[in-house]
Symmetry: C2
Subunit: 242 residues, 2 copies
Amino acid sequence: MNRPLHERIRQDFETRILAGALAPGERLPTEQALMAHYDCARMTVNKALSALATAGLVDRRKKAGTFVARPRVHSMAMDIPDLGAQVAERGQAYRFDLALRREMHAATGRAQAPMEWKVDGSVPLLELEGIHFADGAPFALEHRFVNLTAVPEILDADFTGSSPGTWLLEHVPWTEADARITATGAGATEARLLAVEPGAPCLCVERKTWRGSEPITYVRQLFVAGAYELTAHFGPGARRDT
Amino acid sequence: MNRPLHERIRQDFETRILAGALAPGERLPTEQALMAHYDCARMTVNKALSALATAGLVDRRKKAGTFVARPRVHSMAMDIPDLGAQVAERGQAYRFDLALRREMHAATGRAQAPMEWKVDGSVPLLELEGIHFADGAPFALEHRFVNLTAVPEILDADFTGSSPGTWLLEHVPWTEADARITATGAGATEARLLAVEPGAPCLCVERKTWRGSEPITYVRQLFVAGAYELTAHFGPGARRDT
DNA sequence: TCGTTTTTAATGTATAGACAAAATAGCGAA
DNA sequence: TTCGCTATTTTGTCTATACATTAAAAACGA
């Protein structure tokens, strides 16, 4: 009972909501009623209910009151860990082989189309292509474009062995990102590089990132089926506080 | 300037942190300093900084102060929307065909193994299998187990036309979930049901959900490559509040 | 010098009150 | 009836203050 009071109030209702004792749409007591019930100040009750509101468990409307929120959007936190670190964690040897490194402009080549990236044609880009190896066996293909206006220092980086993703993760924080996950069959060239049959199923992850409104990088990663999986988790572990 | 003050303070620092003006590990001013700077009460500053703390942007330690948090895990919010709603949104006709409906126990059949689900063998389960159609063409296969102890009402539900996922989303809020996303080739039976070649690449989404510590459901969805994609987004748009 | 105790600076929690804002409810007039 | 105004309820924000808690830093003693 030595936990903070606002925390106790919050948890009281969280428990009841999650257990279904309070149905979605149901109204919960007013702050006045609760401050009488818990014998505390309104600010304390307010803090508890506000926390529930920002957590999305309840909706609060002036004059109307506080209501249990409808089941929220089905969204989960997905981890996209650093490939090198993940391979190393499994006790395998990691290597990245750079296959292509080219400075270019967005207007040049076929960069604009596959990216669907809103960069001006005059923006200087660094195009990188390479293969990720685990214990000597290729397991992923990576094709990346980096905005040199935003990240000029990447020209001095060395990618023989470590991947551009690792470098970017450590040097350029992003504030916004879009990802697209699909399954696809390996093309002829891709199959050869990954040492699989053409048409073999692959997991394709495409990701665009921005810092503010400035595009940073676009990457398309192709994983051999079975060699990689994405995991996502949603739950209390993802939003513990205090 | 008519936005609440605590919100303005919060955003001031959020902006500077995300822009990199405040480096990870860097200490930000004390509440005393900030209440002088913004000419307001300490509670107001406290509210702003506490919000940043629960959002994971800063760490707060007593006596030591408030510090910019180290770059957090590379995790993004992934939307796993309701299939029916999503198909309908694209202007296509949605249909779900139930192919199998069986009450069973966890110990029976091959339920335990594929689920890797920690349910006691005596737990009554409802096994469901069906196909999702868009404009008459099959695009996903679904195999699901539902814990009847947790959700007995599902026995009265009717799944001719609408999917179990939709029903569950509306009737049983979950509090915890794990997901696994892989690419795989279609098996013989699966290929026949989905009207594709055996071995054709498919996106496989497996998901387990709990309410509290009680298992609710396990589902494995197999999507024809190209017919479906998962998208994820991370950015300011994903966590707007107030 | 090293380990222990005390101080102190910072956040954490809570109070009581005030005013603002918004949305519902009710009432009155066209 | 319907439109529009007003009153009221409920949450939103903010203040000023108090005391608790914690951990770093300083003081102290062997």
